[in-house]
């Protein structure tokens, strides 16, 4: 029996190759994800451990969430006296205190250096000198001198001899002469795209520790045990071996690779999911085509189980071969991606290929999915009655009632869950139940695709029926609804996912635009592009803007995002120099109390946040600021919920306790009748010396706010591209098989006068209709998906629903393109058909 199977397979090579391709792609992406993650982890670990070469022990301040940020002056520091203590420990050969944290440097263009990766300031000491490689010049010897990393030279446009202006959140600007350039070990310019500036220890402390003679980390060389050092420094500090510290540091950097790994794993799983449809389809067709052969086997005594076995064996062979190929290609892809990640996001990290054992999962997934997908067709094959061997192989499409009823039931079940979720009737199950509902409904709709294919194919086909061959193509596409549906499903799933996400993104954009237009009563906005740090500007600038003759009012916003607590709960705090005016600009409304003459111990909060925190007007609550100061604040006003003004507001007097006591944003209301552009120019002039922010009008603001979403959308569309490849394979597969099945029909048509071109057109129309069907269905499902999510998030502020029309049009065009592309080979085959052989074809 196995021999018969293998021989049969050998005679159907082309089809098996097509099917295998889908499995190969899925397995490849899963394996690539595993390899990428492992390789990046190994490579990063390698670099970090290089950095810790020679470091025998590391002393850090005891665990503190704020300290982990590294850029907060309030981080628990290690006083200089501790460094002396460490140096005094027996067995310590040398110890260096390290000061490092985020600084801002103004580049050649007047804006911050490195918008998306931080600029790290640190003290250039013996330890760092040993680790880094000086490429040009020397290290800083005076407070006015700095040595910069090669990446800094690249990003800033400065070089040795130039003067650079730098500052930190807590220290004023100062000018520094660049006296040297250094690179990282292994000839790299940066570890992960960051730029670095090395200062003298005193200057680093002025910038990063508010001038305190203290350090963030102490690096120790020598054979003193960590316990001995720990005894010397006391319980306030943590002592690790160099190895432990290295591993901990590596974890942070491996995150990037992990995220990439998850994305590719996601791609791989979607690819595998889509391949399931392709495999089911191919095997169904193979079984249909082999009906007589299988019936003959049954007639001469093969049992049902043997027939099932023969089909499953075929699937297993495909699964094994394709999965091994996929694994191999996946290792290559993973290696290539690692190179890409390292060069684009890791500053040219040297990649060390690592194939983890987990990559073998890809093999298991590939083989498992192939065999499982073949079970339904295999069981169907065993149902072929022996007498079918004697009959003409006619495969009338099965009635769709069963699958339709199942689809309706499943969709309804999913719909009910979604409905309950939307109306908050799921209780604790909440989000999980809602998402499960969405998933179930998705499966249900997939089951409904065959019945949906009838009217939709007729409708789409009507557009293409202007020529007779187009009409025949349309009729052929509608001939076997199951096959058409399952072929289109691959495309449907991909298009549904991207359309869903695109719909959510466009709804976000619309919501932002609506908020800006309706709620934001301002004409100009001062803000910065949010990159590695939160952009701020000098408070004095705010006063200058307010003083402009054509400016009616300015709403300003200070923010504290790290380390503040209200009643022990970590939370963000906001403040405004003039909350009453700001509320007016933000169209905020006071529900209770007043924000006029906000007392220093006053607290203002919106209704739902108050409810969540159990606060009411007049309540007093303990508030701890990031700098460690605490105060008892009293709720003096409650605001109506309104996205722009939601949150906890404190009095201007508390701004001094913020990590960054500078305004983040200003919203400018221009006098009626004044020239907004002229005011924008004036504000621009005032901001000339503010490298982190610029002034924008409302439209630009919306664009800035949503630019990150576009990035997300673009990366999701890569997923569509992948699914498109699989969809093309699926459509090609179906068409090739259809052409085979209809050989005699084609022969007849050609005999009675259909030209080759017409035959080609007929197949092409069929292909385009199948693809358009998938796309239209996918778009509909995606819009439904987007709408459901928007409804679910309405309370969270996603108030508008907007359709991404240009993208939808794009997907339809892409579907037509896929249809045309997929039809090329099958159409050529149909056109080349030898008429005589075709007529005689059995």
């Amino acid at each position: 029996m196995l021999r018969a199977t293998l021989k049969g397979m050998a005679s159907r090579k082309a089809r098996l190759v097509l099917t295998s391709l889908a499995v190969v792609l899925g397995t490849m992406f899963v394996a690539a994800a595993m390899v990428l993650t492992a390789t990046m982890e190994k490579s990063v670990t390698g670099v970090i451990s290089d950095a810790f070469t020679g470091v025998d022990a590391v002393v850090t301040a005891a665990e503190d969430p704020a300290a982990a940020q590294g850029n907060t002056p309030s981080a628990t520091l290690i006083p200089a006296s501790v460094l002396d203590d460490v140096r005094g420990v027996d067995g310590v050969e040398s110890a260096d205190g390290d000061v490092s944290g985020q600084v801002n440097a103004i580049g050649d263009n007047g804006k911050l250096v490195g918008a998306f990766a931080p600029t790290i300031g640190f003290n250039w000491n013996d330890q760092t000198t040993g680790y880094n490689e000086i490429r040009d010049g020397r290290g800083p010897e005076a407070d006015g001198e700095v040595i910069v990393s090669a990446q800094f030279v690249k990003d800033s446009g400065f070089d040795v001899g130039d003067t650079v202006t730098a500052y930190s959140y807590t220290a004023e600007r100062a000018d520094y002469e660049i006296v040297g350039v250094f690179g990282l070990p292994g000839g790299r310019d940066s570890l992960a795209g960051e730029t670095q500036i090395g200062f003298t220890t005193a200057e680093a402390q002025r910038l990063l520790t508010q001038g305190e003679d203290a350090y963030m980390t102490i690096y120790v060389e020598g054979d003193a045990s960590t316990d001995t050092i720990a005894d010397a420094v006391g319980a306030d500090f943590r002592v690790q071996t160099g190895e432990e510290a290295s591993e901990e540091a590596a974890q942070g950097f491996a995150v990037v690779a992990d995220i990439m790994g998850y994305i590719f794993l996601g791609f791989g799983l979607v690819a595998v999911f889509v391949s399931v449809f392709l495999i089911i389809n191919t095997f169904t067709i193979i079984v249909a085509q082999r009906q007589r052969e299988l019936a003959l086997l049954r007639a001469i005594g093969a049992g049902r189980n043997q027939v099932v076995g023969s089909v499953l064996a075929e699937a297993a062979v495909i699964g094994v071969i394709a999965s091994i190929a996929g694994l191999g290609l996946g290792v290559l892809l993973g290696w290539g991606l690692s190179q890409l990640v390292s060069s684009s996001a890791m500053g040219g990290l040297a990649v060390k290929l690592e194939v983890p054992l987990t990559a073998l999962w890809a093999l298991a997934v590939g083989i498992g999915v192939t065999v499982l997908s073949a079970i339904v067709p295999a069981v169907k094959a065993s149902g072929v009655p022996p007498v079918a061997a004697m009959r003409e192989a006619v495969n009338p499409p099965k009635p769709l009632r069963g699958i339709t009823i199942a689809g309706l039931a499943v969709t309804a079940a999913g719909g009910v869950l979604v409905g309950l979720g939307l109306t908050d009737n799921l209780g604790d199950l909440g989000l999980g139940g809602f998402l499960t509902g969405v998933g179930i409904a998705f499966v249900g709709i997939t089951l409904l695709t065959p019945i949906l294919s009838r009217p939709l194919v007729a409708l789409l086909g009507a557009v293409m029926s202007w020529s007779f061959s187009g009409r025949l193509g349309k009729l052929n596409a509608g001939r076997n609804p199951r096959r058409t549906a399952i072929t289109a499903s691959a495309l449907m799933i991909a298009v549904a996912l991207v359309t869903g996400i695109a719909t959510i993104v466009s709804s976000f954009k619309e919501t932002t635009a609506d908020l800006t237009d309706q709620n934001l009563d301002s004409d100009l906005i001062v803000m910065g592009q949010q990159g590695a740090n939160i952009p701020t500007f000098a408070p004095e600038t705010l006063a200058e803007i307010k003083a402009l003759p054509d400016v009616a009012a300015v709403g300003d916003l200070y923010g504290e995002f790290f380390g503040a607590e209200i009643d022990g709960e970590s939370t963000a705090l906001f403040a405004s120099e003039d909350l009453a005016t700001s509320l007016q600009v933000f169209s905020g409304t006071v529900a209770e109390g007043t924000v006029e003459d906000l007392p220093d111990d006053g607290l203002v909060v919106n209704e739902s946040a108050a409810q969540d925190a159990g606060l009411a007007l007049g309540d007093t609550v303990p508030v701890t600021f990031a700098d460690g100061e605490s105060a008892q604040l009293t709720v003096v006003a409650v605001l109506e919920d309104q996205l722009l003004t939601d949150g906890f507001w404190v009095a201007p007097a508390q701004i001094a306790h913020f990590t960054v006591p500078k305004p983040m944003q200003a919203y400018i209301q221009v006098e009626d009748g004044a020239d907004v552009d002229a005011v924008q120019d004036q504000v621009d002039d005032i901001l000339a010396d503010e490298p982190e922010v610029s002034v924008a009008n409302n439209a630009d603001f919306v664009e800035q706010q949503t630019s990150q979403l576009d990035l997300l959308l673009n990366s999701v569309q890569v997923l569509l591209a992948l699914a498109i490849i699989i969809a093309i394979i699926g459509v090609v597969n179906t068409l090739v098989l259809s052409v085979l099945e209809r050989t005699r029909e084609l022969g007849l048509l050609r005999a009675i006068g259909m030209t080759r071109g017409q035959a080609r057109r007929m197949i092409t129309v069929e292909s385009v209709i199948i693809c358009l069907f998938g796309a239209v269905l996918g778009i509909a499902v995606g819009i439904g998906l987007g709408w459901t999510v928007q409804q679910a998030l309405e309370e969270e502020g996603l108030t508008s629903f907007a359709l991404p029309w240009p993208l939808i049009a794009g997907y339809l065009i892409a579907a037509v393109a896929v249809g045309l592309l997929a039809a090329i080979a099958p159409a050529a085959r149909a056109a080349k058909l030898n008429v005589l052989n075709a007529i005689a074809y059995e």
């Binding site: 029909e745 009675i752 259909m754 005589l836």
Partner: protein
């Protein structure tokens, strides 16, 4: 089987609808070469019903395929009406088949996706032309298909399907209709219907029909039977009856020992 009235000779019928001269067709090469047609020359008069008979492998199907432009000849010439078809490219041949030739096959004659009427109009549709409604109506009436027009082939009996195929073959008023074993898959009653229609289309409409068959009683409906054996024309029988056909077959079966009947 009673023979329908033989057509009276007319002036217009002296022209040959199909004229084949010195046809040579061989398949394969060297040792394995099979010569299907050896210098066959034959004319089929316009408005006549000719049957081609012969045992399996005699070349009768090859002859028909070459005459119909479905197969190419190695040597010789085939004219359909005024058109020399040897040497035409695929596109011209396709157009010729579409406009000048009608086909009736043994089985699988209809497109399952189209209704009976759409199948009848198929050649015109492919050509993007409008069929002559009066003519189509007459053909449909003759074939008694008026109440079957909206049916799909799967909803028709074998005989009905073949009648639809006949209607399709005649729909474009082709120069010649080639029928390849048109009754091979039908029961006696349906065969009779189809053959009587072919006869009528010759008598009433002046249609030219060339039919390949191995059934002597089918051949008896024709005006003339051409016998092929071993790639050559061995007999040319005019005004045949079933008995004369059988006699003729016996005659050359005795000369050439052959392995049974077939198409």
């Amino acid at each position: 089987m009673p023979l329908a009235n033989p057509p009276a000779p007319q002036l217009t019928r002296t022209r040959a609808a199909v004229d084949a001269t010195n046809l040579l067709r061989a398949y394969g090469s060297g040792e394995a070469q099979v010569v299907a047609l050896r210098n066959v020359s034959v004319q089929f008069a316009s408005g006549a019903f000719t049957a081609i008979m012969g045992p399996s492998g005699s070349g009768k199907s090859t002859l028909m395929h070459c005459l119909a432009g479905l197969d190419t000849v190695d040597r010789g010439s085939v004219r359909i009406g005024d058109t020399e078809i040897t040497g035409l490219n695929d596109k011209a041949l396709t157009r010729l088949r579409r406009d000048k030739i009608g086909f009736i096959f043994q089985q699988f004659n209809l497109l399952p996706t189209l209704t009976a009427e759409e199948n009848i109009l198929l050649p015109a549709s492919i050509a993007g032309a409008k069929a002559d409604p009066a003519w189509i109506g007459r053909v449909i009436a003759t074939l008694d298909l008026a109440d079957r027009l909206t049916h799909k082939p799967t909803e028709l009996s074998g005989g009905q399907q073949q009648r639809v195929a006949c209607a399709r073959a005649l729909a474009t008023r082709p120069e010649v209709v080639f029928a390849d074993e048109p009754t091979g898959n039908l029961d006696t009653r349906s065969s009779g219907e189809v053959l009587r229609f072919l006869r009528r289309s010759v008598d009433d409409f002046g249609q030219t029909i060339v039919m390949v068959t191995h059934d002597p009683s089918a051949a008896a409906h024709a005006d003339r039977v051409v016998f092929l054996a071993d790639g050559q024309i061995v007999e040319d029988l005019h005004r045949p009856t079933a008995d004369s056909v059988i006699d003729t077959m016996r005659g050359f079966e005795n000369r050439v020992p052959l392995a049974g009947e077939g198409r």
